[in-house]
Point group: C2
Chain length 461, copies 2
């Protein structure tokens, strides 16, 4: 969010597309020690894929996004891989249709997320698609199943191999984009609010970044509980949308002191605060808790300033990192919790329970992912930028559909001219420098943008 992105670095991933043959197969799961049972892969090959092994290895290619090194948006490159990945027992091969972007992916690109192995590696914690092959011992999934997938990394590619336990059946009527938008944000919001937060009727919740993926999911989940008051921070241009989504009191954190704004309305403070920011905002959150209040911190997005790792922002975040003594907790009757789905991958039972509840709520029409925008794999750099610069309302999605030739020629970007102009006004005071860059960008790329406000489910496939 600082204006430190050097314009010279704004080269898009689309320019970097390399038809290289990947040296090694990217595997969605961390490497395991036992050798891959090739027989298993063959035994479970689908009719479509049931050709001879040798020809298939030659002919089977798929596109994959690969983080080639830590740094700016251009470090994620589109590559073509050869050879069909082998399946181990318990695994399924998924033909990926759409992928979700998460803040952890942005942190990972800068080398700030230790759950992603060192580059070169394919990022991506969630996707949706169709099961194309199942390994031995897989009984709960079959070829043709539409699934959403949650994994530690490795899902930003056309083909992914994951344990079947990491897949969830997509319910009737849910688009692939919605399915790719759901797992990380909704499980995160659900477990924070209902496990750590123990949200109950009549309580108050402060949701930072209320227009972000987790923010929108959390708002919807809050509304499933009677008489919950939601305070949500977002820049002013997003207030109408988040109010419609259920935020009772939208607060413009760019122009106002959100602590003061909250105190004006709720002098005693909050029952639950969801904090993705870290640093000094965690201190503020702690002080803003009511007795028996719960602060749930789930990120350090304050560390993310600019395209590349910003040492000053990282240092500042560390310096201001919240640390709490138990005596203070006791005297305040407070709770401080930390959550990150990326560190919970050993707990698939808990995750599956949460997911089942969320899918029930979806079927009842009580929650529905809101898609901000959908981008081709070639556009991953711009997709990341949109999210990192907080220009999204809802989820940023990658689509694995091949990008039409004409779009490539036109340097396509999904930018909303009108919205950007509005945003510019809001941001002028504190962000003038960056606006210049954006103007430069817009000259070459205003294209293919829909009014996003009332069509979160327009992207049905």
């Amino acid at each position: 969010m600082s204006g430190e992105d050097a314009p010279a670095e704004q080269q898009n991933a689309v320019d970097q597309k390399q038809e290289t043959k990947a040296a090694e197969e990217p595997k969605a799961e961390p490497p395991k020690t036992e050798p891959a049972p090739a027989a298993a892969a063959e035994a479970t090959a689908t009719p479509a894929a049931a050709t001879e092994k040798v020809p298939e290895e030659d002919t089977f290619t798929y596109r994959a996004l690969v983080l080639t090194g830590y740094g700016g948006y251009d470090k994620v490159k589109l590559q073509v891989k050869k050879g069909k990945p082998a399946l181990k027992a318990g695994e399924v091969l998924v033909r990926v249709k759409a992928c979700g972007l998460n803040f952890a992916d942005l942190m990972a690109r800068q080398g700030l997320y230790d759950r992603l192995p060192s580059p070169p590696v394919t990022p991506g914690m969630e996707c949706s698609g169709v099961v194309e092959a199942v390994g031995e011992e897989v009984t709960d999934r079959k070829v043709g199943d539409k699934v959403m997938v949650l994994n530690r990394f490795g899902l930003w590619q056309e083909v992914a191999v994951v344990p079947s336990t990491h897949t969830f059946l997509i319910p009737e009527g849910m688009s692939f984009e919605e399915a790719a938008a759901l797992p990380v944000n909704y499980i995160t919001a659900y477990m924070m609010l209902f496990d750590f937060g123990n949200l109950r009727p009549n309580q108050s919740v402060l949701i930072h970044a209320a227009a972000g993926g987790v923010g929108i999911a959390a708002t919807q989940l809050c509304k499933t509980v009677k008489d919950v008051t939601v305070f949500g921070t977002a820049s002013a241009s997003k207030h109408e949308t988040i109010s419609e989504g259920g935020v009772t009191h939208p607060i413009d954190y760019r122009t106002k002191d959100y602590v003061e704004e909250v105190r004006k309305i709720s002098p005693k403070g909050m029952d639950i605060i969801l904090d993705p920011l870290g640093g000094s905002d965690t201190h503020k959150a702690y002080n803003l808790l009511k007795p028996m209040g719960k602060l749930i911190t789930y990120g350090t997005s304050n560390m993310l300033a600019g395209q590349k790792k910003n040492l000053l922002a990282v240092a500042k975040n560390w310096y201001h990192q919240f640390s709490i003594h138990t005596l203070s907790l006791i005297q305040g009757n407070k709770s401080v919790c930390g959550f990150h789905l990326g560190y919970l991958d050993g707990e698939m039972e808990l995750i599956t329970q949460a997911m089942n509840t969320i899918l029930d709520l979806y079927k009842e029409g009580k929650v529905k992912p809101r898609i901000d925008s959908t981008w081709h794999l070639e556009q991953v750099g711009d997709a990341m930028r949109k999210m990192q610069e907080r220009n999204n309302i809802g989820k940023v999605i990658l689509n694995t559909e091949p990008m039409p030739e004409e779009e490539k020629k036109e340097e396509p970007k999904k930018e909303d001219k009108k919205k950007d102009d509005k945003k510019k006004d809001d941001k002028k005071k504190d962000d003038g420098k960056k606006e210049e860059k954006k103007d430069d960008k817009k000259k070459e790329e205003p294209k293919k943008e829909e009014e996003k406000k009332e069509e979160p489910n327009k992207e049905e496939k």
Copy 2:
């Protein structure tokens, strides 16, 4: 728990009884600035108390325990106060029948609890009794109501004046001892397990000091949830009792490493840990949490070593005080909560909600306070000692009944000879020094003790 109590200091409060006229009326509530509406007190005077004001002030006396300074057991002295306390609007006057002892009272005696005003002051956070007069604007209580009372301090006396909102009606069939044993322990256990802990079926809970007041309450509350596994620490002599009470795995923390014992049975650790100890035990608890686990710390009883403030123990506790960074919480998916009812006195609505649920559970026969022993006001020193030396199983209670003359002569103590012998064996290794003292004591005072194991409700009045 250290053997540092000097035998010379073992003078009992009973020897200190002073028939002094108290200079000021002890008030249960912290002093308020507005003058006491004397008219209100008169208007609500009960028939029994409806005599002229002047004579009543002369004739109305009551006994009160007063902390006269920080230090050993002898610092709490029995005094006689004169004059009927005036009632402000919203207050009731309670004729106290029984009082509960809590760890905070022991800490307070040593000057380690900042919610008790400076001496001279009457301690006591809970009691039971009968409403004897009601102030103006009191509509929910009437003269003759049997109530239990929760207050910041000031309840260890025969007559207490408190806001009516701090009283709860005693349900049918509950004795005054049980009613005095219930509020602090059960509300504490309830809010920790069900608000911060969010206890659900199939979870595991580690309860330290499982034979203490909170420990027994927490165990009973755990059993109200399906398939909860309770690990409880207590010295070996108490294991039979706590097992009968619902502890699945009793652990003798004196002879075994409780962390190892828990890991043997539950390698992944615990879902919830209730920690009244503080210091290095809080660190152990944190490391023993499962992902999504909750550590709820509610005391620093490790600070309490010996009769008087033990600076070494206090310093050690401070030195080892647990402090946690949010990044560690995030990566561990853990929650650290602090609870102390004494700091929650502004939240009577929350407390009343919890109390109503607890009373419903009592009426359903699902929870029942276990009384360890009942003592006269004159015996408060010995009562405190029993609790501080961890010789109790369940609640230690003070009874306001006048002490019979013959008991006074015999230096009465409610000690269980058989139990003490058993305990002595358990403690021999690490506690030999203290045992000598106990032997001395026992020579003069083995008296009036019942087998406590199967009669937690024998004390009906």
